[in-house]
């Protein structure tokens, strides 16, 4: 029951956030210069331009357009793309799966590599493994994705011939690996650093000392006390990183010709396809909120001291 009321409360809390984002994007694209007509034709007749704006409802006052947009949104209608004349939901649906594939694979890579690396480093602080792990972590955080992607392409496609250098292919793992690793290196480094710091802090906590003084083996101490407590911090970082990955995916998608929402968003902005821009941003925000809600729920599962109050 507390869980249900927690979920309802959190879902209600997302409404103002979503509305604020929708309003911000709407107002922003109402004031930025450039229009769909100028991006379509270099020499459109000014009368045609006016008629087209009227047909698209772009000549209405901003508040009227916003009201109409919200009313549509409430029914799950994201509008119709100015350019392709497709429903925006269908455009996003085509791109959603590749983006999810990319982000979840990148996240899996970064968690599976970064968290153990941070753990191992923290268990032997100051040692060779710790120093090496932190060099990897700092480098991973510092490397530009564009450059890293090119290096991986050069190495694994051109030199070793193991993987294709670009494209979606059949959406299989061999096409996914390079973009996912490119995207995942930076969060991997962050997870390693966060995990190391969390574990080091927990290792000196009173309850860990107590556990050891009771004669509990080091493996059990790490497994039952250190790992569980560190997981809360790691989960928080994972939640925040999902949002980051969605933003960073734009660069990776473009570099690897990966058909995700990021490239849809960039092209829609450049072409002033406002419904597609609004829809793409909204989906990214909703995904971010959903992931963070899920993580809030998981807190309680990992640590029973956290209550859904």
């Amino acid at each position: 029951m507390p869980m249900l009321s927690f979920l309802v409360r959190r879902l209600l809390q997302t409404i103002p956030t979503v509305l604020a984002v929708v309003l911000l994007v709407f107002v922003l694209f109402s004031v930025v210069p450039g229009s769909i007509v100028s991006s379509m034709s270099d020499d459109a007749d000014p009368q045609v331009e006016l008629r087209m704006k009227k047909q698209l409802g772009l000549d209405d006052p901003v508040y009227v357009r916003f009201g109409a947009y919200i009313a549509k949104l409430a029914t799950g209608d994201f509008g119709t793309s100015f350019r392709t004349r497709e429903p925006v939901t269908s455009m996003i649906a085509k791109r959603a799966w590749p983006t999810l594939q990319l982000i979840f694979t990148a996240m899996a890579f970064s968690v599976l590599l970064g968290v153990p690396l941070g753990f191992i480093a923290a268990l032997r602080p100051g040692g060779l493994v710790d120093s090496a792990a932190m060099v990897v972590a700092v480098s991973g955080l510092s490397i530009a994705k564009f450059w890293l992607g090119l290096v991986l392409m050069y190495l694994f496609a051109l030199k070793l011939g193991w993987l294709p250098s670009f494209g979606y292919g059949d959406g299989g793992l061999k096409y996914l690996l390079l973009p996912a690793v490119t995207l995942g290196v930076s969060p991997m480094a962050l997870f390693a650093r966060t995990t190391r710091a969390a574990v080091l802090e927990i290792m000196t906590a009173d309850f860990v000392r107590t556990a050891r003084s009771k004669g509990m083996s080091e493996t059990r101490v790490v497994k039952w006390h250190v790992m569980r407590n560190a997981l809360v911090i790691i989960l928080t970082t994972v939640g925040l990183q999902f949002g980051g990955l969605m933003g960073q995916a734009v660069v990776v998608e473009k570099l690897f010709s990966w058909p995700g929402i990021g490239s849809l968003l960039v092209d829609s902005v450049l072409q002033r396809d406002i419904p597609a821009v609004q829809g793409s941003i909204l989906v990214v925000v909703l995904a971010f909120l959903a992931i963070n809600l899920l993580i809030d729920v998981l807190y309680g599962v990992i640590d029973p001291r956290i209550r859904y109050a």
Partner: protein
């Protein structure tokens, strides 16, 4: 002229493709790249003027005419015969009776009429309207005053009469994919946007948005024995460095090269032979607003042309991937005058001209630019110190490409830098400076000169090609002297082509736009 340039430019290709004389091989996959953005805009080619989209459209669709790169001119494609009458204003097209849409239906005159009426829909801003407007009554449809173009008449299922508003070669107006002929029945359906149907040599198979379009051979294509290849894959690859890796890794067959890659490929003995280059019909320039007082004076505009070391910028910054502009019409224009010489770099003369115009101590202006690497911010940044040397201060106003196009059309600038299509029709290119051409069309500098107007009007009326060319050259020379712009360069398009790909055409209108039915892959292609 065009042929000469094409031959010179094609040397690399000819050397690489020593098997060019072989019989074209049937089968295989052509793997092209679309380098101008991270997706295709739309599968409805009537709605998009981006060069990116025409790459796939050349395989999928057909128009009344097609560009013949070897001849450097448009030739009839869906028309078997064109009969000119009415003093050049009436064109009667005898259409092919063997052209089938990809749904198996034969094309008829109704499809041509339907397609042109659609393009003139005055609520849609279809970019092809600029071409169809040449047909009598088309503008009335655009304005909502008529439902059908009065100047288009169906004589029978395979004959159309087209009345023009001016005496022009309609080939220049109806060869791009913007005026593709759609199947009237199918194109009206919603599903057409998802699954386009055309008359081209390849039919639509799949579109992965942001990644690729796949097309396969249309067996009922009207040219016997063509297309050669079984499939065409056009991959979206906006990043030059990624294309470079993919090309070297033999994953793609063509790759447009930027300045940095152009230098690297020329220096690499393994890649040098893959380079194909052509002078495209685009002129890059800085436009000056005559409403801004200093630019109203011809001497100031000329001074700017003298003050900039254009050759230095082309050689060092653009890495030689451009041809110096000698006036408005580009090298591959049939009216290009090779006797024309560019403004020399002469800061002293520039200072003198400025002093004569009353600007001895210089002046300041705002220069609107996009970030484009070939004709945007990097070029502006290089020019500013050169102008500063003669006392002219330039303040940069950076905008997005979409915004720049709006700024240019509205005249809301003091100066701007741009790349404008200046061909293939020299008359249409020069008409942009005719006082009757609105600024929102292509007279971006709002240029008005009665002498120029008269020459262009005379050229439009001239029946004799030599006489017309002579008049166009005269108009072009007048523009050079009037200097409404800083004449920067003509684009040199460069594309790397794998040695197993044959039949690539040096298309001066846009190198990536290939008549793919003439392109074939030999057995050494990794794609088979």
């Amino acid at each position: 002229m065009f042929r000469m340039i094409a031959i010179v430019a094609g040397v690399g290709l000819a050397l690489a493709g020593s098997v060019e004389a072989q019989t074209p091989r049937k089968g295989g996959t052509i793997r092209m790249t679309a380098p101008y953005g991270s997706s295709f805009t739309s599968l409805d080619i009537h709605t998009t003027q981006r060069a990116q989209d025409e790459i796939y459209a050349k395989a999928l669709h057909r128009s009344l005419y097609i560009w013949d790169s070897a001849e450097g001119k448009p030739v009839p494609e869906l028309a078997k015969e064109v009969i000119v009458s009415g003093g050049g204003l009436v064109q009667t097209f005898k259409l092919r009776d063997d052209a089938y849409f990809h749904n198996g239906r034969k094309m008829t005159a109704d499809d041509v009429i339907w397609s042109y009426n659609r393009i003139m829909d005055g609520t849609k801003a279809y970019p092809g309207a600029r071409y169809v407007r040449i047909i009598e009554g088309a503008a009335a449809v655009e304005k909502g005053q008529a439902k059908e173009i009065s100047g288009l008449k169906k004589i029978d299922d395979f004959t159309i009469e087209m009345k023009l508003t001016e005496k022009v070669d309609p080939g220049f107006y109806f060869f791009t994919a913007l005026t593709s002929i759609y199947p009237a029945d199918e194109a009206a359906k919603e599903s057409f946007i998802q699954h386009p149907i055309g008359l081209g040599p390849f039919k639509f198979v799949e579109h992965v948005p942001g990644s690729r379009i796949v097309l396969e051979r249309w067996d009922r294509f009207y040219k016997p024995g063509k297309p050669y290849a079984d499939r065409v894959i056009v991959s979206v690859m906006a990043e030059a460095a990624a294309r470079d890796v993919a090309f070297r890794n033999k994953e793609i067959d063509t790759s447009v090269l930027g300045p940095a890659q152009y230098v690297a490929y020329q220096a690499d003995p393994n890649l040098k032979g893959t380079i194909a280059e052509v002078a495209e019909v685009f002129t890059r320039y800085m436009g000056m607003n005559p409403a801004f007082k200093p630019f109203a004076d011809k001497r100031v505009r000329q001074a700017i042309n003298y003050a900039i070391d254009t050759d230095l910028i082309i050689n060092k910054l653009v890495k030689g991937k451009a041809y110096r502009a000698t006036s408005w019409l580009p090298l591959t224009s049939p009216a290009y005058d090779k006797a024309m010489k560019p403004y020399p770099y002469d800061p002293a003369k520039a200072k003198q001209l400025l002093a004569d115009a009353g600007y001895a101590s210089g002046f300041e202006f705002e220069w609107t630019t996009s970030q484009n690497e070939s004709w945007g911010l990097p070029i502006v940044s290089a020019v500013i110190p050169m102008l500063d040397k003669v006392g002219i201060k330039a303040k940069v106003k950076q905008v997005e490409a979409a915004v720049l196009s709006e700024v240019v059309r509205s005249g809301d600038y003091q100066a701007f830098i741009y790349s404008q299509q200046t061909g293939p029709d020299p008359l249409a290119a020069l008409k942009c400076f005719h006082s009757s051409t609105p600024q929102s069309a292509c007279n971006y500098m709002n240029y008005k000169n009665a002498e120029f107007d008269k020459i262009i009007d005379d050229a439009g009326q001239a029946d004799d090609t030599a006489k017309r060319t002579q008049l166009l050259q005269k108009a072009n020379a007048l523009l050079y002297d009037e200097a409404p712009v800083w004449f920067f360069n003509y684009n040199k398009a460069v594309m790397a082509v794998q040695p197993w790909l044959h039949g690539v055409q040096l298309n001066a209108t846009e190198l990536t736009h290939q008549n793919v039915e003439d392109v074939w892959v030999d057995e050494t292609s990794p794609a088979k």
